[in-house]
């Protein structure tokens, strides 16, 4: 198990918090909460060690399209990058922005 932390500059306020997914085999849960300030904090708890570079790429890509002032917690149980992006997009859809 490994914990990864990333930060991104963001500008748009977010009103709601959102929870999607489950820490099941090949899946993950995503918790998104509004924060003050211009920095989005991402914390990833993953069951698979050594994939920091892949995670960074996936989350980098997500933040090229997302600009919300949020804290994101990801609890991962071996999801593939595609599933991770789908869950993040599902969460954003439920945020309504």
């Amino acid at each position: 198990m490994e914990t990864l932390r990333y930060e991104y500059p963001v500008s748009k306020p977010v009103k709601r918090r959102v929870h999607v997914g489950v820490v099941g085999s090949g899946d993950l849960e995503v918790l998104i909460e509004p924060v003050d300030g211009d920095t989005a904090q991402v914390v990833i708890n993953t069951s698979v060690d050594g994939f920091g570079r892949v995670w960074k790429t996936v989350v980098d890509r997500f933040f090229t399209r997302f600009d919300g002032r949020v804290a994101i917690e990801i609890n991962d149980f071996g999801a593939t990058p595609g599933v991770v992006l789908l869950r993040l997009e599902q969460a954003v859809e439920e945020l309504g922005q």
């Binding site: 198990m1 929870h19 820490v23 099941g24 899946d27 849960e29 918790l31 069951s47 609890n75 149980f77």
Partner: protein
């Protein structure tokens, strides 16, 4: 399946099994009444799993919600089977026990509160050992205390089923609703195979497993109260019909003579088939 398959009904149906614990809870409560308690953002998670290198889920795999059923206050506790096999740890178990105990207090104070348990669990979480077992014992005690006031309805939707200490919780419920896909038993077939060998039971033989401990067989043997399709609407309706029955006159778990006699009739030197078991036990002498 009977001779004619109702394919229109089949297509129109909304699978309960495919819903996660939170969606199942929403599907059971009156529309718009779902209010989650100790949800994922409270982050009441297992302190023990990360110490053992396992990622913890923010709600420890149990959804507790208040709402109404037929307009009457209700509490639903739902186990998420996709997280650690729906296993009961210290936190997840305490959430269910706490919810039932608060419902008990409500009922004692004259606020009638119904309880529904959505049981999808392999039983105790082995990584949390005695702490999980203690929590399961608290759940048992809370069900027995609460069912004197108001029916406690258990639902096993599938596909994990309900095993171990939580199968006792299912047996203690006032009423039990299952689907064909559900399984109910003390030791799961995988555990039996692992401990006693493939000669004892072949857990990959799905037809055999379901013929012995599947929802349909358990219904045939009088160990559950209603067999329903894997349909969220039908299950929600059945929960309401079941509550309308009120508190049962007698509980299955009190019918010790019935079940001890049944066990005595089994020749354990041979593997029984589902048909043989149904013939041997064929729904006789049940208290309800």
């Amino acid at each position: 399946m009977n001779a004619q398959t109702d394919w229109k009904g089949f297509l129109a149906r909304r699978s309960f099994i495919e819903l996660d614990a939170r969606e199942r809870t929403i599907a059971l409560l009156d529309a718009g009444s779902f209010r989650e308690i100790v949800g994922p953002f409270d982050r009441l998670k297992s302190p023990w799993l990360p110490m053992q290198g396992i990622v913890a889920q923010a709600d420890d795999g149990v959804v507790i919600a208040r709402g109404t059923i037929d307009g009457e206050p209700a509490v639903v506790a739902a186990i998420e089977s996709a997280y650690q096999g729906g296993s009961m740890g210290e936190v997840s178990g305490a959430k269910i026990a706490g919810a039932l105990e608060l419902a008990l207090r409500d009922n004692e104070n004259g606020i009638r509160t119904r309880a529904v348990l959505l049981l999808e669990t392999g039983g105790v979480r082995l990584q949390e050992a005695n702490l999980g077992l203690a929590a399961i014992a608290e759940i048992h005690a809370a069900i027995v205390a609460l069912r004197r006031h108001v029916p406690v309805v258990g639902v096993i939707g599938g596909m994990v089923g309900c095993f171990g200490g939580m199968s006792l919780a299912a047996a203690l419920c006032s009423y039990l609703i299952v689907t064909r896909e559900a399984r109910l038993g003390m030791n799961g077939p995988e555990v039996i195979e692992q401990e006693a060998g493939i000669e004892e039971i072949d857990s990959s033989d799905r037809a055999l497993i379901w013929s012995l401990i599947g929802g349909e067989q358990r219904t045939r043997l009088g160990m559950v109260d209603a067999l329903v399709e894997d349909d969220a609407t039908q299950i929600a309706k059945q929960v309401r019909t079941t509550f309308a029955l009120g508190i049962p006159k007698a509980y299955r778990c009190e019918a010790l003579d019935t079940y001890l006699t049944r066990i005595g009739e089994v020749d354990t030197s041979k593997q029984l088939t589902g048909v043989q078991l149904a013939t041997l036990w064929g729904n006789k002498g049940d208290s309800k």
